[in-house]
Subunit: 135 residues, 6 copies
């Protein structure tokens, strides 16, 4: 069984690889490479896998999931320009793929420490584009 | 191939384990444990797995799926206080997880009798919280 | 200019007029009259009318709007059985119309005291049914 | 990792198997069998599986995915009566299942030629009915 | 106070004025002028204006509104090719504007006969295009 | 009658009045005042008022509305940091209110020149916050 919780954060990003020349970034990312950044209302869905506890009827305490998600993701990412203010996006291009993977890396060890198995991180950049990360 | 049909029902629930003391229920479920209940517009998605029939082009007749879903779930659950009016929620805490599992138990045998393989029951309590049940 | 903020709360209600006989309530409200109640994820939209302040560029400080809305509506209504726990719904039938009007009555004086003109309260019972209240 | 892009198209269809008698089509498909057709705002989601490229941070260039999707699906299907104007729906009943499978068949070879692994085609006929196709 | 109810229907239309030459229709309506038609999941919202009844707490009985809406609009329009099967669209171009106005004309007298004041008909052709009709 | 068209753009903004001290901006706008900016998927709805033309059945040609909206708003605003790249937001704080009013100012004269009466600009910053501008 999977239980999934959704949260939103608003952030800016620029798709720019600092190892590439400006014209290479422009060719690769188009208008996403504007160095001033542009922004999205990102939606993140976190899925935990497990069986409902026989006493509580819950796979995992949602209050604890919310606390981990806020501490590791929403608070550091929300209202930030990711490339300038959130590691490792000073050196890792904050594509939707890389942001989703970073969210996985921030959540998985904390959830494992609480005996929760993280199954999937889904990240919507817009309603029309999303990424699923399983590791 | 999977085909999925979505339906809604409105119901009340209280997250209360009758085997626990009130303060234990309060610690476990917070405001969800209010014994008067509170409610949701639940959304249920039922997914059937199979290959499209070569004549009809359909995995399963959606009119029959709708009939089973209404008889087994929508009619008994809609406009009810689950803890008081729908078995087994007089003794099983109606968390989203347990409601989803009960929906699976009500649908699977009827669908199997009609040669349809139930793949997943997804239940949204709100837009921000859902459960996937695969057995 | 209007600025509108949306919030959600989950509550139970029963459409029952205590002055009517059970069969009259049944005739009037159908399955909504189940005295055990059923529930919804209500969505409330509050619209303030005004001109943007020349310094702040804001019609009204959204932090203050949120504070009033939470204190007057979300906290008392959320996770409650309205008929039993929230006045005046012990004697006023909590139809969508009457809940919207009660929200207006709770918000308007507090907002007026903060020099904000309340223009509209919109209340969604489901995605398919909503009420607009202007006084 | 999966990356998914969503697009819409508006089309008409009639669920009619030309090999069946009118009354058989009526029994099988109900009002969907009206030979004049009726229509939907179809939503298609295309998911590509892979690892983000270490330089670009992308699983697949979304500009190329969009180009393939438009050339193979959106342009030929949008604003068409599928049964009369889009092969093979002159002889294959355009159920949601068969349309999704045809979209897979049109996309998979082109994407494979660009070294992209197609994982899933999801097709919504309405918000309440969708199909997932994996081959 | 306004109460609004939402319903959906699926229909085909072609934007073609029979009084114009094909190239004029093409210039005016673009791909919408394909005579085979294309389709949409139309969403209609019907708003009734009034005060809540002091006994029922309702502006208008929603069961009666639903009955009128189904008899006058959903049943005749759903799963139809409007130009060929629904008057007056054999001679009136079924643009979103004209469909909305026709819905008003079908609903207003029946609702007036039931003492309900129709305030607005809103018709969505897609999520990105809608029309509001007030007479 | 009103016809409304919806479009999206992604942009960054910072709520900062250059005439105020940093601590005043912080007190006024909270985390919105981060000078690096943060972003949103803005949704803009443009409503035109009029009667359907007797020949075309249209209030206004949607292809022309789309052209004006793209040239005046979507192209200059999309993928930009509004404070740094789009006048007058170098000196006018880009609150939702001020962005909506600027959209009105950019659209109204062009639409008037095409004989279209602009009725309303609605701007969503998120699903939970929007502004309506009527002049």
């Amino acid at each position: 069984m999977l239980i999934t919780r959704r949260e939103e954060f608003s952030a800016s990003h620029a798709c720019l690889n600092p190892a590439l020349a400006p014209e290479e970034n422009r060719a690769l990312y188009g208008e996403d490479s504007n160095p001033n950044g542009h922004g999205h209302n990102y939606v993140v869905e976190v899925s935990i896998e497990g069986d409902p506890d026989p006493v509580s009827g819950m796979v995992f305490d949602l209050k604890r999931l919310k606390a981990v998600l806020h501490r590791q993701v929403i608070e550091p990412f929300d209202h930030r320009f990711l490339n300038r203010e959130v590691a490792p996006f000073d050196r890792v291009v904050p594509t939707t793929e890389n942001i989703a993977r970073e969210i996985w890396r921030r959540l998985e060890p904390e959830l494992a420490a609480e005996k929760a198995r993280l199954h999937r991180v889904r990240l919507y950049e817009t309603e029309d584009l999303y990424v699923d990360c399983f590791e």
